[in-house]
């Protein structure tokens, strides 16, 4: 499903050169739940950004389901993210002026679905994460855990091939975090490929496999 070869990412700040990822190789199988851990500054989120088409590596190749995403142009990457990937951000990243169902509908509308179709699929996704009774609530009317579940529903609404989650439990209490991870497990059980970045070893253990990053390389 995901294959990265000799992946590097270097940031240049003035005269300073910072090698964040140093020639990584990794492979994620279809249906696998992989957790990426490491201390702060180890490059976990940077790796996720490269794999999820949000950023461009300095060198190396990344294949997602046989598509070399490193060669895609800007609009192609956007379309690829829309149709193939799902993303759960650290701080929920919901649009405050859209209700729960509208936040989930947006990418579905962008795929060309009618409003009725998008609404139907959004209801299904929100039901799947246990928020069928919160469809018309604005993010400000939802708890942190509920907002994160809406974020998950938005990410899975278009049936992505891969679900990326960047520190999804960072802003949640432990009980809510466990509930969220339970949602991930259920999705995984349904065959969803998940790549999750976390600095919590306890949560990483929920995954099939743990990859630990240290100073830009896997240990």
């Amino acid at each position: 499903m995901i294959k990265a070869t000799n992946l590097t990412k270097t940031y240049h700040t003035g005269h300073l050169k910072l090698d964040v990822l140093k020639g990584l190789n990794m492979h994620v199988k279809t249906g696998e739940f992989v957790a990426i851990t490491g201390k702060s500054g180890s490059g976990k989120s940077t790796l996720l950004y490269q794999l999820s088409c949000l950023d461009h590596p300095t060198s190396g190749e990344i294949y997602i389901d046989k598509t070399e995403i490193t060669k895609l142009k800007r609009n192609q990457r956007s379309l690829f993210r829309l149709n193939t990937l799902g993303y759960v951000f650290q701080d929920y990243a919901l649009l405050p002026s859209l209700s729960a169902i509208e936040n989930v509908m947006i990418p579905l509308l962008m795929q060309g679905n009618s409003q009725e179709q998008a609404r139907h699929q959004a209801v299904q996704a929100l039901t799947q994460v246990g928020l069928a009774d919160k469809l018309n609530n604005l993010p400000s009317q939802l708890s942190g855990g509920q907002q994160q579940r809406v974020s998950i529903a938005r990410a899975i609404g278009n049936n992505p091939k891969v679900l990326f989650a960047d520190e999804p439990t960072a802003n949640l209490d432990s009980d809510t975090s466990l509930m969220l991870l339970e949602s991930f497990k259920q999705l995984h059980d349904q065959g969803q490929t998940i790549l999750m970045v976390t600095h919590e070893d306890e949560y990483a253990k929920q995954a099939d496999r743990i990859l630990t990053l240290q100073d830009g390389v896997f240990v």
Partner: protein, 419 residues
């Protein structure tokens, strides 16, 4: 091409979806303020220009309604009076498209006030020069409603003898620079000299109109002026014609030409008879109005630009998130365009309602009192629609560019709040 159209269609739908919700759930005070600014901008665009072009329009209207009528006849260049005046008047009266006419005698005159007082050796008599106009009071009033412009005393009647109405421009008590005849009151005796003829007349009333043609006039019944000017051939100097409803001045002029009246008189529509300086003023004010309107349009565009830019930059993170989850940048730009158009449309609509239900009726009832005209607010539905269209176009551009600037920023930097 089809793919591009399909994608554009989706972008517009998603943009609309986002814009509607942003407006519905946005801060009401912010939205109201933006709409208020757009309303003021549109008012500036329409009303300032409307007053500027309304000033010369007021002059033109006053001239038409109070002096020249719809069509104005004057002597041919080589003549002092309209040739065969009685025949011409009879011909005109028979035309079915003519509602009424006023034939006027005109001549230069000198008028003295307080002439019966003994003057000191170093005193000068109170004398002004004016224009003597002989009118049929009833027909004149039918054409120009002149009696409504009497500010003191009474209007003339047909049988008046040695009675006159003076324009307030001849009188010191109505001037701002102490020129004119001093101490003239209703009922006073004045000495009127026309050529070799001198008569003592009684002041019956004072006239105050904005029509340039009546500035500095002394009005008397036509039969008496005809005698004073020795018009034994009844040679008239002016014929003002009012047409029936639905007939244009050009049509009247064509009819008169067809009846060969142009052999006896110069025939002009009310616009053609305007002094050239008024036409120049009208053209200049129109240009000024367009310049001021254009400045207003630029100000409106800058306002929208700033509003949308601030809106977009404060939502940079959410724009990044939208792009991150695969929303096309064009869809996001469309949402800002729709929001801009919403503000401009509502603002223009409110301003238009204010203009047509409040301002125009107000200015019609209470025109601005300028010395040379009544300042009216000249606004037409067509002109307003054009200006609304221009504002929408300016707003569209002003909403698009700042949105594009923010949307084009790096997606990840926007999400993470990096510069």
């Amino acid at each position: 091409m089809q793919t591009w159209l399909h994608q554009t269609n989706i972008n517009i739908k998603v943009g609309w979806f986002l814009a509607v919700r942003e407006i519905k759930r946005g801060n009401r005070w912010n939205i109201s303020l933006i709409i208020f600014v757009m309303m003021l901008t549109f008012l500036n665009l329409v009303v300032v220009r409307g007053i500027l072009v309304g000033l010369p329009a007021g002059v033109i209207t006053a001239n038409r309604e109070q002096y020249t009528g719809d069509v104005f006849l004057t002597p041919l260049d080589t003549q002092d009076t309209i040739q065969n005046s009685p025949l011409v008047i009879d011909l005109i009266r028979q035309l079915p498209t003519v509602k009424t006419l006023s034939a006027r005698y005109s001549g230069s005159a000198k008028i003295e006030a307080n002439f019966y007082q003994t003057l000191q050796s170093d005193q000068l008599p109170d004398v002004v020069n004016g224009k003597l106009l002989g009118i049929n009071p009833d027909k004149e009033d039918s054409l120009s409603q002149l009696s409504t412009y009497i500010v003191a005393g009474q209007y003339l009647s047909t049988n008046d003898i040695d009675q006159a109405i003076l324009d307030t421009g001849l009188l010191e008590q109505y001037s701002t620079d102490n020129t004119g005849l001093p101490n003239v009151h209703i009922g006073d005796k004045l000495r009127l000299t026309v050529g070799q003829n001198t008569r003592v007349i009684t002041v019956k009333g004072f006239l105050d109109t904005k029509a340039q043609g009546f500035t500095g006039v002394i009005l008397m019944p036509d039969h008496q002026v005809q005698s004073m000017l020795n018009r034994f051939d009844y040679g008239i100097n002016q014929i003002a014609i009012r047409s029936v409803n639905g007939t244009t001045p050009e049509q009247i002029k064509q009819t008169l030409n067809a009846n060969q009246i142009d052999q006896y008189a110069t025939i002009e529509t009310y616009q053609e008879s305007l002094p050239s300086f008024i036409q120049d003023i009208a053209a200049t004010f129109s240009i000024l109005g367009n310049i001021i309107g254009s400045i207003g349009l630029v100000v409106a565009a800058i306002t929208v630009f700033i509003v949308i830019f601030v809106n977009a930059i404060t939502r940079r993170k959410y724009i990044g998130i939208l792009k991150g989850i695969g929303i096309h940048r064009a869809a996001i730009e469309w949402s800002y365009i729709f929001q801009s158009l919403f503000y401009a449309t509502i603002g223009s609509l409110i301003a238009t309602i204010i203009i047509f239900t409040l301002l125009i009726p107000y200015f019609d009832a209470n025109p601005l009192d300028f010395p040379f005209s009544d300042g009216i607010l000249l606004v037409t539905p067509g002109g307003t629609a054009i200006r609304a269209g221009l504002l929408l176009i300016a707003t569209l551009a002003a909403g698009y560019f700042p949105a594009r600037m923010v949307v084009n920023q790096n997606t990840l930097d926007s999400i993470l709040g990096r510069q």
